[in-house]
């Protein structure tokens, strides 16, 4: 007989859903990422010419919904119960959500590529149903939380911005079919994009890193007040930017300055974490995460320039808008997510493959599940690819975009190899190497 008394109630991993719920979203995300990059290699004009056309809208939705949103939703299904110390409201709802999400992503990308706007609206409606299921599931999960802190406030804000982003996207698609919108379509698209990128993705990244980085680095968060300020500033900035971009108002500079203030506070907190006495050395995943976050500085600076009142719409400035979006999505968010996937994927696979054997035999560590050499090569080639694509896109230079995106594809192929190695442990668990 054995017994376990638990001071804090239910153990945390018991709160997490089955690994297959997050895993299916994450694998869809990785497949979408690889497909998006291959499409850029095949069609470098997508980044080398003005960004308002059906093909770039299709690829950006494959990238944003297929990759970023899928991975983030999968990670939230996994992390929210653990971080909030409650159980997920319903795993079954999560499975239904995945089915709808997969169909919606495929439908949206196809309908944008072929510019079938009625089909886009139908797919967008399906996506909205999926997001409603997701938001409902997570909101019910949040309600179980007895006290509120930075993590729960972040999740609540992200769910709200995500819902608004999807509704704004549906409005945009409908305005292409029926003439009713009083807004400039390009301004509306920029407002929609910022609502999702800043409100849902960047705020989630910032809020989650306040929880995960201290955990991984084995230190306390240096200044919870500064952390709270950064999240408040980013939330207000999201609202201000959405309204001012939509109205094409010169006050969008105020929104950009608020975002820069929030990101500056975040950057100071990240530096303080690195300087915390007794912190653990950065491993490969954390180095990649920090590299991604350092790209926030040039991205925010470029964003500030682009919101400058009276900035003329020249060939260069419109290409700089592409570079800005590219750095935010492919630079900051993708690199950070790939870095975190080096934490999340081995964890999910380890729990499945080795969890039942804990205490029965010596087991491999998470970083034994993949090649750290491949990971390092992947990071450096990714950074080089980002630089090449950004410069070539700014100059509208198609061959340069093709060279840079080929390197980008190579870097992601190294990541895919490591993903394959990690997943192989689920099928063929191994003994650890002696140490």
């Amino acid at each position: 007989m054995s017994s376990t008394s638990l001071a804090g109630g239910l153990p945390d991993a018991q709160r997490a859903p089955s690994p297959w719920l997050p895993l299916r979203f994450i694998l869809l995300g990785i497949a979408s990422l690889l497909t998006s990059v291959v499409l850029v290699v095949v069609r470098p004009d997508l980044l080398a010419t003005y960004h308002y056309n059906q093909y770039i809208i299709a690829v950006s939705h494959l990238f944003i919904l297929g990759f970023l949103l899928s991975v983030i939703m999968g990670a939230m299904y996994q992390m929210a119960p653990v971080v909030l110390e409650v159980t997920l409201h319903s795993e079954r709802l999560g499975a239904w959500h995945f089915a709808g999400h997969l169909a919606a992503v495929v439908g949206l990308v196809w309908s944008f590529w072929s510019w079938q706007m009625l089909a886009a609206i139908a797919s967008g409606a399906l996506l909205t149903v999926g997001v409603v299921l997701f938001v409902y599931n997570l909101a019910r999960t949040l309600r179980k939380r007895r006290h509120w802190d930075l993590a729960s406030a972040t999740f609540a804000a992200v769910l709200g911005w995500l819902m608004l982003t999807v509704l704004a996207g549906l409005y945009l698609a409908a305005s292409k079919v029926w003439v009713f919108s009083p807004f400039n379509p390009i301004a509306a698209m920029h407002a929609h994009a910022h609502l999702g990128a800043l409100g849902a993705f960047i705020i989630l990244l910032v809020g989650v890193s306040y929880r995960l980085l201290p955990m991984f680095l084995l230190v306390e968060l240096p200044s919870p007040r500064r952390a709270a300020f950064s999240l408040i500033a980013l939330n207000v900035a999201t609202l201000v930017l959405f309204v001012t971009l939509l109205l094409d108002s010169p006050w969008k500079l105020a929104g950009a300055l608020l975002a820069v203030a929030g990101l500056t506070a975040y950057g100071l907190e990240l530096i303080a974490l690195l300087r915390a006495p007794g912190r653990r050395a950065l491993d490969g995943g954390l180095r990649q995460f920090y590299a991604a976050l350092s790209l926030l500085a040039p991205t925010a600076a470029l964003g500030l320039v682009l919101t400058w009142p009276g900035l003329p719409a020249t060939l260069l400035t419109t290409q700089l808008e592409t570079v800005y979006g590219f750095l935010a999505l492919a630079g900051v968010l993708t690199l950070a997510i790939v870095g975190m996937l080096y934490k999340i994927l081995p964890f999910l696979v380890w729990l499945h493959a080795y969890g039942p054997h804990v205490g029965l035999r010596r087991l491999p560590a998470l970083n034994d599940l993949y090649s750290q050499t491949l990971q390092t090569a992947g990071l450096w080639s990714y950074l080089a690819a980002l630089g090449i694509v950004a410069v070539a896109a700014a100059l509208g230079h198609e061959p340069g975009v093709r060279i840079g995106s080929s390197l980008w594809a190579l870097s992601l192929a190294l990541f895919a190899l490591n993903v394959g190695r990690i997943l192989s442990h689920a099928l063929y668990p191994r003994n650890p190497s002696p140490n």
Partner: protein, 111 residues
Amino acid sequence: METNPTDPALHPDALLDTLREVIDPELGINIVDLGLIYDLAVEGAKVKVKMTFTVRGCPMQQSLIRGVRIALLRVEPVEEVEVEMVWDPPWNPSMMAPEVRERVGLPGCSS
């Protein structure tokens, strides 16, 4: 089952050695050298363990608690294992064994 209190298998040091089989997979370090085991007491065939985690909300908690129970139950003549999770005092890196601190990049950490 009758147990002999002088049974070497039930000596706390021997049981701690058994628990060295259980690692924190994120750090690749066993839970004993990591300083997660605060107390281990033997009462007949029952082992009582007080343990903590590096952080509240550690996603490996359930696996590690289960691992402690299974590892100790494999020791003859242990029949019962009680694991109590405690947060006081909170874990900090100075609780790690000096020889493993370097493995996580903490050479200057003093105990």
